[in-house]
């Protein structure tokens, strides 16, 4: 669809966008993102091979994947007290929250706007793996904007929805972790796709 004037439009926009980017970033959220406890995915998902869904219990069941209930943390840390000084300090904080029967006020990094509804359940149940959007968390020490694999912007969501994904038996064909654990499966499943699936392109499905 070549139209006259489109090139000019592009050039004008490029210039203005550049001008805009010169201004300090305004697209990212503001505020203090220090987590109340220095939680390390490397230790938990990596070294100790805790599966994602052990803590994020609602990923397969609900629109939100959930943050582990404090009881889950205390379940291990009532016994596991840590080896290094730093570890012991942080674990003491977790235990403290449980003892006081208080919830841990984590800061939300993977956040999408309130006018969007993203259903974890739908994506996990069709067979997508956590790492496709979140990356290999077993290598992430502290979760922050810098460590986010995907920008979770609408463009990112739509680009995936525009593609056709091969499926086998109704589920996404490809390497899938059986328990959605942190370890990749050694032999990537050599599944033969027998179909295709593509996400809804209806704005109204996500924009509630």
């Amino acid at each position: 669809m070549k139209r006259q004037g489109q090139n000019i439009v592009r050039k004008v926009m490029l210039f203005l966008s550049a001008a805009m980017l010169a201004v300090p970033s305004m697209a990212l959220a503001e505020g203090d993102f220090t987590q109340p406890i220095k939680f390390s995915h490397v230790t938990h998902a990596g070294k100790n091979e805790v599966p994602c869904e052990f803590c994020h219990i609602y990923a397969r069941r609900s629109i939100n994947s959930g943050i582990p209930p404090v009881r889950t943390c205390f379940g291990c840390h009532s016994v596991v007290k840590g080896t290094t000084e730093a570890q012991q300090q942080e674990i003491a904080k977790v235990v403290g929250y449980w003892d006081r029967q208080e919830v841990i006020p984590w800061k939300k990094i993977h956040d999408i706007p309130d006018f969007v509804e993203f259903s974890h359940k739908r994506h996990i149940q069709i067979g997508f793996d956590c790492t496709q959007c979140h990356g290999d968390m077993s290598k992430v020490e502290e979760v922050s904007f810098a460590t986010m694999k995907q920008p979770l912007s609408m463009g990112f969501c739509v680009s995936c929805h525009m593609e056709k994904h091969p499926t086998a038996n109704g589920k996404i064909a490809g390497p899938v972790r059986k328990t959605r654990g942190a370890l990749p499966i050694d032999n990537a499943a050599s599944v033969q796709p027998d179909g295709n699936i593509s996400g809804s392109k209806d704005c109204f499905i996500c924009h509630k």
Binding site: Q6, S17, P69, V70, R71, K108, D111, D202, K208
Partner: protein, 1034 residues
Amino acid sequence: MTKGINRRDFFKVAAVSGAAAAVAGCGSDPVETIIPMLVPPSEYQPGVVFNFASTCTECSGGCGLVIKTREGRAIKAEGNPLHPLNRGSICPQGQSSMQAMYSPSRSKGPNQQGAPVKWDEGIAALATAMKGGKTLYIGKPRSGSFKKLLAGVLGTDGSSLQFEMSPYASIAKGNEIAFGTAEVPQYAIGEAKVLVSFGADFMESWMNSQANLRDYTKMHAFSHGQKGKFIHVSTHQSMTGSNADQWLSVKPGQEAQVALGMAAALLPGSAMAGNEGLKSYLSGFSLEKVSERTGVSVKVLEELAKDFAQGGASLAIAGGNAQSTGEGAKLQVAVNLLNVVAGNLGKTVLFGAETQMGGDSLSKMADAIKQMAAGAYQVVVIENVNPAYALPKGAGFAEALAKVPMVVSLSTEEDETSALAHMHLPTSHTVESWGDLNPRKGIHSLIQPAMAKLPGYETLELGDLLLALGKQLGAAEASAATYQDYIKAAWMGYQKDWAVAGPFEAFWKKSLQQGGHFGEFAPKSVSLQSSAYAAEMAPKAEAAGLTLLAVNSSMHDANGAGGNRSWLLEIPHPVTQLVWDSWLEVHPDTAVELGLKHGNFAEVKTAAGTQKLGVFVNYGIARGVVAVPTGLGRNIPFPTYISTRGKSLLMPHVEMAADVTIKPLQVGLSAAQLLDFKLDPLSGDLVFTTAVEVKATDEDAYMVTPEGTAKHHDIAALSLEYTKANMGDRSLKGRGFVKMTSVEAMQGHSEEHDLEHHLRHRHYETTLPDNTSFYQERAADVAYHVEWSKRDKPVYYESHKWEMAVDLDRCIGCSACVVACYAENNVSVVGKERMSKGREMAWIHIARYQEPNHETGELETYFTPQMCGQCANAGCEPVCPVYATYHNDEGINAMIYNRCVGTRYCANNCAYKQRRFNWRTYEFPAPLHMQLNPAVTVREKGVMEKCNFCFSRVRAGKDLAKDQGREVFDGEILTACQETCPTDAISFGNIKDSKAKVTQIKTTTNRGYTQLDEVNYLPAVTYLKKINHDNKKA
């Protein structure tokens, strides 16, 4: 647009340039916290609705509720489909119970005239005071286990009084006189072919309105070629009467005459013909005499009496204003006579029901006030009732209360009565509490908490409070640890009484899940007693002079509980369509006689005082009567938005984003201020009428309806008399929004039946093999459309096409759907001033038309629910410059809020005016913001919004179906408006499903039509014509 720039590119450039200029002011998202659970309950899931069955306590009707919760917060009240009384529907006041739960007037914690106290200190202080003398407990009417606990706690030194302003004592007294039993029976409206109501506003506040309407729908909705008849006999038409097939306007206090006249006419042909005493009594009520006294013609009375003779399949009921004249019990006796003569006893009037509704007779309150003034009580406890507001000043309630050494308020909200208390020990709301109710024999409704207590509010459940108090007083009845245990223990006893087999835990769980235990009652037979036709039962034969009538407003009850809820104030009153105000309803003839003008203030003077009220001229009221609504005149904390209005002639009117203050706002006038404290001599019910003087003024009353200020319509009206009073033209003006037909036409007895059946020409063939042929007949149109709109393919309704059918024959205008929509979709409340500018936000609204009947010349009221029609050929879609609104592949006109730039071109193009624009970001004063539904975006300034057929519910329904690996079945997804409607006027479903109810309706009806066909928008909402008897209605 083949050359030059297209609209998208234009906007891209304009937006970026604009943004570049305004970058500094751009805000950004604050950091959000993500909160885990401590120990998640096993059945809990975030993001999913959890329902709890409970019972509504807004009035004493006892409707079953299902409370929707999200993440542990109650967000919506729905009717419980399993409950035998309301069967899934809930009234506007019930829907607004969410605003009571999160009311900004809620008390935060126990205090002693403002100074906080601790709970144990407060209860100890109350217990000590109670030990020192007699206690009076004034509370809400509560049937069920609560009564026993209260009696146990009060002991011999205490007495209790159930306070409510509804006149049911007259019904009980009238039955005592006529049948020897002071019982309120079950009125089987559904079994009657002809229903005559003497003032009883059974669609609004009389008995259980939802149960009444479920039954009414059975008899009055057209089915199998038949339709029941409803005649309303009263002085004030009210919303109930405006739905009648016939309204007999009678002189004030003369309703009983009509009943007795009918009885007299029916007596010769009845089983009671041989009763000499009855015959002699009724001889004083010949139709000629009755006609003279009431102003109703003999012919009309004759026809009415004839209609009423249905061999036991008719029903006469009395209540409302007709029963508040001071002769309420006498009216009941007259109506009982009529029912007996017509053979309805035991068929549509069923004793044995032992209905427990309403409070004690007000004569008990009068005694209590005397006792309080005389110093008989050491302590007066007032729980969740507001006598200081609801009672007329002449009752002397506040003065008597001042003499009591200790007054304790146990109310959830701070109100006019709690302001008079020494100590306030706030109770939790019903939504946070345990309890049970027994509204009728056989029906035991459970109340269970749908959420934990509201954070930051230190309240105690009423039951727990009484138990704590009882323990301090050493009451044996108060031994249970918590009120939950108390109720459980009571139900263990019930299980034995009802002989329900199995372990208690299973019985208890099942009862909680279904909302209670529901059974039938054994009808009791009664017979007429001679006291019913004793000479002293004869009602007054003379009508009073100019009378003021305080009427139930149908959105706020006489107790005023709804008078401080923004939804109920913002949603227009069905009959007058007025918002945020009180009014004085006057007949045009009376207005002309008194020199009153519609929309101006009038000075209203009664023995109790003088007040100013705006005049609302309406045909639905008798001549010589003026009516004022009850339930208003309360304070509501409401946001005051700062604006530059009136600051300077040079400054444009701009609404500032800065501070919004929440200020108490008084809305309307309390009708109690105009009434005397006069009680019915036989029953003790309050007399809601009084003699009045009304004087005209020239002052504009600034009365507001959704059409602007009520005065805007003083254009040439239909008849000269109405013009003089400035009533204005409330008709359809030829636009055909409401269409009507007649029973005869529906039965195929007239030519109308042969007229084109519009909807049978719409093709929804679902058996065709491929999607393209769905548009077979319109292929050329579609091709052109696709090319013009530059889509890559036409919109095919692959999975579902959602459509709606609205049956105007069933809609009664109650506006429960409107409140439900506000609750479900986070619709903002804008206030009176903005309503006057047409900035209302209602996604669905009830339009009320007063249309002249071409045959009779009389005005007739028609209600129609209006919402976005999700037009297939919408006018709003092509004009949006940014594609914020488009037609999605399920037939919904989707609205993407964050895409909208606020040009408002779409609203301009909507022929039905169903789009709403957010002219500012409206506030939800805390804690009302906790009621917001997380499934629906909360909109900000600059964004267009409208009904979307509750697409969030559609999404949730499809999600559940997908989880279970099946298709959505019909009736699974209910829109908020559909779910709450007591007459099932709204049907919603997938038109592609040939078995769906909405498809059945649309393909088989011969009274379906779409509004404004001439603009060819092809809305998905089909209206079914209203069916009138004899081509006329009230």
